[in-house]
Symmetry: C2
Subunit: 578 residues, 2 copies
């Protein structure tokens, strides 16, 4: 019999029995055929490679992530992460869905075919992130649309994260007992009805005990938020799958997992990974190394990056090195956190890592995706920057106070003087923040922010969670106006302006939220922007993210949308003036 | 908050962390809401039951079984097995599919709604069991039909057992490399394409190493046949799920599983369980008890009867006692093989075991299912019983030799004299065997059988694996003719005749293979028949099965179909005469 490839003399990790096996690996037409002693059989291979006792492990699978956070398109993303050993991701395109609704999801899926990694999709269950009472976006996702997309695309493999955990907990009795109408519950029911083997991804930070049980009862069965040992134990015991992202990889958490008792009940995920982290530190690989560094046994860490996530989703053809599985695997040199990925095999083919393609693309999406910033014709930026008041007295206004540690904001109060019946807010260590509708509606929210915010400049972004309206933040009108106009001119992107000069500009030409620039260049742009944001006053581990989440009304405590300032805890719009 | 039921003071088994928890169990609208301390919360329940420290375990799930083997309809089956703690089965209706094709499958599914157990379906992948070169049946299942049924019925949850393992192994190169057409491969590809999360059930007795890898490569990923410790290790290592049925529950196999290392890689199943075994010994419960008796830890055994099979199929709502799971569970009194099932809860409702319904049904299937024995108008039973020869000499004929241990038969040779140009075979310790087409085709196979076979009588059955043609076995014409005529008269069943008298008669009015008689009565009939079969010469642990598999051309070594005597090893029809 003639097969494609034999890798001889390999040390292969068997995830089923948690054992290393010294053996040969046979590959036939994209799949693994056999693991054993070739000399027993009359076999011919087109190619035989002596692996020289190196180690072969399953390549990595990331089941909870958002490609849009890498600021690039699926194809650009794929050509970069393959070198970090990722061969399968389950992406959740709720950013694109917020801009283009069902069409956005379809185009993301259709633009995901590539020779490097398999991109599956979880359909967004929370678009918009709250409701049209609190924000406007570019497209809602209904249960009918979810059903249509599930039928149409084989890439759709689960329901993406249910973000409405607060509503589910607060209104549990109404929803579960009194059958109160809820759009997300409708989606969940539809998935349970029509795709009963699909996972339903969750998002429930710090929720435990009966509150957690309520979410499980309503169908949510994973969580990827920040964990503690206690929160993990509570999830394991109640049957909720735990997805550990970078911020959850801390010593105490890893200590809990060391003995292998919870194997299969958790995996690693990246959730949101910016381009500079991918390029400089690696993707899921980075998290796996960190877990090993904190003491997780090598095999346990590999399993949580391959087989466990595959089983969570229900994949039957990946996550292990075994007959019938897709020949996706890595050849590595050693079994510690500094392991080098020497070769990556995808569907039985060796990826040329040295001459790897890292090219930019051009206009792979439909035309309307490149003309997506549509401000209403009656909106006037100068008017918006001018806050008129009737009385020329000191006014008390509500202010979102940022901090340098997290994306949480607090509500504080501030006094602002007036000048010619206009609030005098320029150059006062306080930023004006506008969220301007970009979907042809004449709405905008106006608020103030202080804490770690911009000094002597302005920031403007059309990548602004989750509705991706235009977020405009700065301490003077001139820079704000320039940043805003430039954003309109380039039809989307992230811009930093100071003293009438553009300091940084990252064009995000696709739907105003992602780019077709190759990830290396994109990464450099992001690093430069991040450095400059710090320089201009935005102290934070991730200054960019600390700004682009100012418009996310599910992130505590005070945020802003195109409909106004939002108290996230009460889910109400509040007035600017006290 | 007002919920339906609280079970207080329970010792609940948590399959996720393999631990007993002393706690309360909350039930709301068919599902489990919470496991914890009720006193912490302001909660009202319509009913509170003190379990008094008894044990609560998940109810049992059988993922590989054929309802037709119980000789009754799904509803009758359900009302019986619930008392044995079974609440979910995945049935594979290939017997009914052999009689009525796609319609047979549809009607089985539609007749499965009942208040006791959830009946899911694996679609038969091997109908007929071989090909139309070797046997005729009532309906073929094509990949187009599989696809239609998968789309139509939510109860369809996997692809049923692929029986063609021999062909897959023997023709691997042709199928996998040269793309030789194969109907079953088409089915598998279609499932992998359209239902990628579906399991593909296998049947591969004694296959190991590269042969096993070949089956895995082609998509088959479980095996429910007889196992040894070696065959199990080989399957676990290669990633094949192992389903242990009664005959595999032997000391050496259980010894391998005792340490829990292989947890999650295997489950218990019943495959074929006759009504008398269900009534007298229990269903899956019987196998679980046996495994515990051989030393498997109680918790390990329970897991292999609940959570592991659920995970194998990919169910997300059953197999554990946890929030969001269907409230299917058992209250038992102790943790050893003699545990008593004191209460069964299905979807949160207590089943009244004492006043349990055990009723017969009438004509739940369409009319044509009750008129399914259609012998061709030109077929003449007397002619068929008369084997004409040209020369009045001794003839050497091929004979299937049965044995008392298994369903295997050997080919032997025998000499028969002639009388008036007719073989003289009556009352010679040799049975004449006819397989007569019942699907309006004028075909029948004629052969001889000896070993543990019928003396002074005749056996006739329309339940005859897998094509369910009329199987007629006996040692004299008069009894054979009587048995045959009676079977036509009652339109299907199993009949034993001796000396011109009907000794046993089990009417199988639905498609000639199953009955709507309640299982208690049915069981008595079967026990009486089995006893009489032994009395009339058919020595065997399961005399009935040893006869009804004489027409199964995938069961070694020599069998018979309506097209003739079949050498199972070569898959060729062979001549009666040497």
């Amino acid at each position: 019999m003639k097969i494609d490839l034999i890798l001889k003399n390999a040390n292969i990790y068997n995830v089923f029995i948690n054992k290393w096996v010294h053996s040969d690996l046979w590959i036939l037409n994209k799949k693994i055929l056999y693991i054993g002693d070739s000399s027993k059989y009359d076999i011919n291979a087109n190619q035989i490679i002596d692996v020289k006792n190196k180690y072969i492990i399953p390549s990595f699978i990331d089941i909870h992530m958002h490609i849009e956070s890498s600021l690039c398109t699926p194809k650009i993303f794929a050509q970069e992460v393959i070198k970090h050993g990722i061969t399968t991701v389950v992406a959740e395109p709720h950013e694109m869905a917020n801009v283009f609704g069902k069409e956005g999801i379809s185009k993301m899926i259709e633009q995901s075919k590539n020779p490097y990694i398999d991109i599956f999709y979880g359909l967004p269950s929370s678009v918009p992130s709250t409701s049209y009472d609190l924000e406007n976006n570019g497209g809602e996702i209904t249960s009918k649309e979810i059903d249509e997309l599930m039928k149409k695309y084989k890439e759709v493999i689960c329901l993406g994260e249910v973000m409405q955990y607060r509503t589910f907990i607060n209104e549990f009795e109404d929803i579960a007992i009194n059958n109160k109408e809820n759009k997300t519950i409708e989606l969940i029911n539809s998935v349970q009805e029509n795709n009963q083997l699909f996972a339903i991804e969750g998002h429930c930070p710090s929720v435990t005990d009966l509150d957690l049980a309520s979410l499980l009862y309503l169908g949510v069965n994973s969580d990827h938020c920040l964990q503690t040992p206690e929160s993990m134990i509570n999830r394991f015991e109640q049957g909720m799958f735990v997805e550990l992202q970078d911020k959850s990889i801390i010593k105490e958490n890893i200590d809990l997992l060391i003995n292998g008792k919870y194997r299969g009940l958790y995996s690693f995920v990246t959730d949101d990974c910016p381009p500079n982290i991918i390029v400089e530190k690696g993707h899921l690989e980075n998290i796996i190394r960190k877990a090993i560094e904190f003491g997780l046994p090598f095999e346990e860490a590999i399993t949580a990056g391959s087989y466990s996530p595959a089983k969570r989703i229900g994949f039957r053809d990946r996550g292990a090195i075994a007959p019938g599985f897709i020949a996706d695997f890595l050849i590595i040199d050693k079994l510690d956190k500094d392991f080098n990925i020497e070769e990556v095999y995808k569907s039985g083919l060796k990826i040329d890592l040295k001459n790897r393609i890292d090219k930019s693309l051009e206009k792979n999406f439909p035309d309307n995706f490149y003309n997506s910033i549509n401000v209403h014709k009656n909106f006037n930026i100068q008017d918006a920057l001018t806050i008129k008041v009737k009385e020329n007295k000191t006014h008390s206004v509500k202010v979102m106070r940022k901090n340098s540690k997290s994306t949480y904001t607090d509500l504080i109060e501030r006094s602002l003087n007036t000048k010619n019946n206009e609030l005098d807010w320029e150059y006062k260590d306080t930023n004006l923040v506008l969220s301007i509708n970009r979907y042809n509606k004449n709405t905008f929210g106006c608020g103030f922010m202080d804490g770690t915010c911009i000094k002597n400049g302005a920031f403007c972004s059309s990548h602004a969670h989750d509705s991706h309206n235009i977020l405009l933040i700065g301490d003077n009108k001139k820079d704000l106006e320039l940043a805003y106009n430039r954003l309109l001119e380039i039809q989307g992107g992230i811009i930093l302006v100071s003293n009438g000069k553009i300091i940084n500009e990252i064009p995000l030409s696709v739907a105003g939220i992602i780019s077709e620039i190759n990830m290396n260049d994109l990464s450099k742009m992001v690093i430069d922007l991040q450095n400059n944001l710090v320089k201009y006053g935005v102290e934070h581990a991730n200054p960019l993210m600390s700004l682009t989440t100012i418009s996310l009304p599910v992130s505590p405590n005070i945020k802003i949308s195109d409909k106004g300032i939002i108290d996230v805890r009460t889910q109400k719009i509040i007035d600017l003036f006290n």
